[in-house]
């Protein structure tokens, strides 16, 4: 940690703060999970330590699955900090509104393929939002922030993961949420297969029905 120089706060997130810094002559991202004073100390420490150790493992799993993720340089569980490669590029969140419909659908299709690759290997991202996807200058899409992820083969987890993607599109990109999600699912189906993707879609519907006051339950009334 001592070797980290000139940290510059990039983003103050809900569970971690991201700094752009110099570390052994490299430009890196320092992800620091600082104590949250609103939580009980013991619960806070558990959550931060668990996520700090878990996230690099999942990032590695994702890489093995064929999904671009930042390289991890250092994991400091005592200080609940991770040092990783800085991915230069644009957040998909900023891009989606600026590009043409065709480009948008193509981009979402590719995102769907990447999610498919993760799920095929039992990697659940846990926070699939367009802020957690970065397009670099070589046209590669990187997935970041696996802090809420898990490794599980369960259908339920895949369903929730994609449900979150859908919800993120609805709340942030409401003008073209449906079109985007449809493209995501097409890309997803290409990787996991049409039948498997249909099973997940059914699961998503089931998950949505569990929520309160949801439109999906109307058909049952």
């Amino acid at each position: 940690m001592a070797a980290v120089k000139r940290p510059l706060l990039l983003k103050k997130g809900a569970e971690a703060d991201l700094y752009l810094a110099k570390w052994h002559d490299r430009v890196v991202v320092l992800k620091k999970r600082s104590p949250k004073t609103y939580r009980l100390q013991i619960l806070d420490k558990q959550i931060r330590t668990y996520r700090t150790i878990h996230e690099p493992q999942l990032i590695h799993e994702a890489k093995t699955a064929g999904v671009p993720t930042p390289a991890i340089f250092l994991v400091d569980s005592k200080n609940t900090a991770i040092i990783m490669k800085y991915i230069e590029g644009k957040q998909i969140k900023q891009l989606l509104g600026q590009i043409s419909t065709v480009e948008r659908q193509r981009l979402c299709f590719r995102i769907g393929e990447l999610i498919g690759k993760l799920h095929r290997c039992g990697v659940i991202h846990g926070d699939l939002t367009t802020s957690n996807m970065i397009l670099n200058s070589h046209g590669k899409i990187f997935f970041v922030d696996f802090g809420l992820g898990e490794k599980t083969p369960e259908l339920e987890a895949k369903g929730v993961d994609l449900h979150l993607m859908k919800r993120a599109l609805q709340s942030t990109h409401f003008d073209f949420a449906k079109e985007c999600f449809d493209s995501v699912m097409k890309g997803y189906a290409k990787v996991v297969g049409v039948d498997a993707s249909k099973t997940v879609l059914d699961k998503i519907k089931e998950i949505e029905r569990r929520g309160r006051y949801v439109a999906e339950r109307k058909e049952k009334e």
Binding site: A14, L40, D127, Q170, Y213, K218, E221
Partner: protein, 340 residues
């Protein structure tokens, strides 16, 4: 009482989505003149929709009379009738809607159907003065983080299964705790939690901006029936874990939207521990933090009346033939032109 300007217009709002039957009266400029709430308290178990609806029908005329007396408004002075059209329990909603339709046609004034969740946010803004907040709305039926964007309120996070208030209520009932009339079970849990010392590990389930409370409830009740922990410690652990979850989701929405105001509302907003947690998050993000006063945080008619005014000013009325209740009316479906 009757020294008001003759030019002022008045809206009467009816709330009956769940266990409370309430009538509120608001001026068109946002002065709340009456807010009478009559809660149905079941002798045992949770809210039975039919029993709650029977309660509403029984108390409706008394509540109406009380609201008119307190406000000093004569029925003939009303310009608008607003009612909670959804979401909620069918029989309860229908009782309120029936009263609303009757008043509207008898007085020959327009009717406007209001989304209950939006009413909670609008009254919160009116009462605290916040303008464009991230709202955490936690009650027996809802747990959601909401913010306005481009014409509509958007849900940034919510429970994937049961609501926070529901989670606390069911746990309290499983523990055979007695509910004080007029106070939610959550208040009993809160009191016991103050005497808790030991944090018992319980599942912490945050999924992106959403969260899940059903596993937490199952775990807590299982441990309760094993009788190996003090009830105070269980209440404490249940609260700490559940509140930490909603707090994290709120913080995520705050970081995501970059808003500078946080509003806490709904029945569970009265919980002091939850208030301190959300307050701490707001402080860390240099945002203003406000809690809706209890009377306006629980289900109440005033919020419906005030939101009715906002809708009516933008030309939104509900003809009687379209005033059927909407049990699962999501707030993202509603256009809110008064916030353009």
């Amino acid at each position: 009482m009757k020294t008001r300007k003759t030019k002022e217009h008045y809206c009467l709002g009816i709330e009956s989505t769940a266990d409370d039957f309430s009538i509120g009266i608001s001026t068109f400029s946002g002065e709340i003149l009456a807010n009478v709430i009559d809660a149905y308290t079941p002798l045992e178990g949770g809210i039975h929709p039919r029993e709650a609806a029977r309660h509403h029908a029984e108390v409706a005329s008394d509540v109406l009379e009380k609201a008119l007396t307190i406000s000093g408004i004569k029925p003939s002075m009303l310009s608008l009738i607003a009612f909670s059209q959804g979401p909620g329990l069918g029989p309860c909603l229908r009782t309120g809607a029936t009263v609303a339709r009757a008043l509207s046609s008898y007085l020959d004034v327009p009717l406007t159907g209001i989304n209950h969740c939006i009413a909670h946010i609008e009254i919160g803004k009116l009462k605290t003065g916040v303008k464009n907040p991230v709202t955490l709305y936690v009650s027996g039926g809802n747990t959601m983080v909401v913010a306005f964007d481009s014409g509509k309120y958007r849900v940034f996070g919510e429970t994937l299964d049961i609501a926070l208030g529901n989670c606390l209520d069911v746990f309290a009932r499983e523990a055979d705790l007695r509910q004080k009339p007029g106070l939610p079970f959550g208040a009993v849990v809160e009191k016991l939690a103050l005497k808790g010392r030991k944090l018992i590990p319980l599942p912490f389930t945050v999924k992106g901006m959403d969260l899940s409370l059903s596993g937490l409830l199952t775990s807590a009740t299982t441990l309760l029936h094993k009788e190996q922990y003090r009830l105070e410690d269980l209440c404490y652990s249940l609260q700490e874990t559940a509140f930490s979850m909603v707090a994290e989701v709120t913080e995520r929405a705050l970081a995501h939207t970059g808003r500078k105001e946080v509003l806490l509302t709904g029945g569970v907003a009265a919980n002091k521990r939850l208030q301190s947690m959300i307050g701490s998050i707001a402080e860390e993000h240099k945002a203003e933090f406000d809690v809706v006063p209890s009377e306006f945080a629980i289900d109440n008619g005033a919020m419906v009346a005030w939101t009715g005014v906002l809708a009516y000013i933008c030309g939104i009325t509900t003809p009687i033939e379209k005033s059927y209740v909407k049990l699962r009316w999501r707030l993202e479906e509603v256009e809110v032109p008064w916030l353009q």
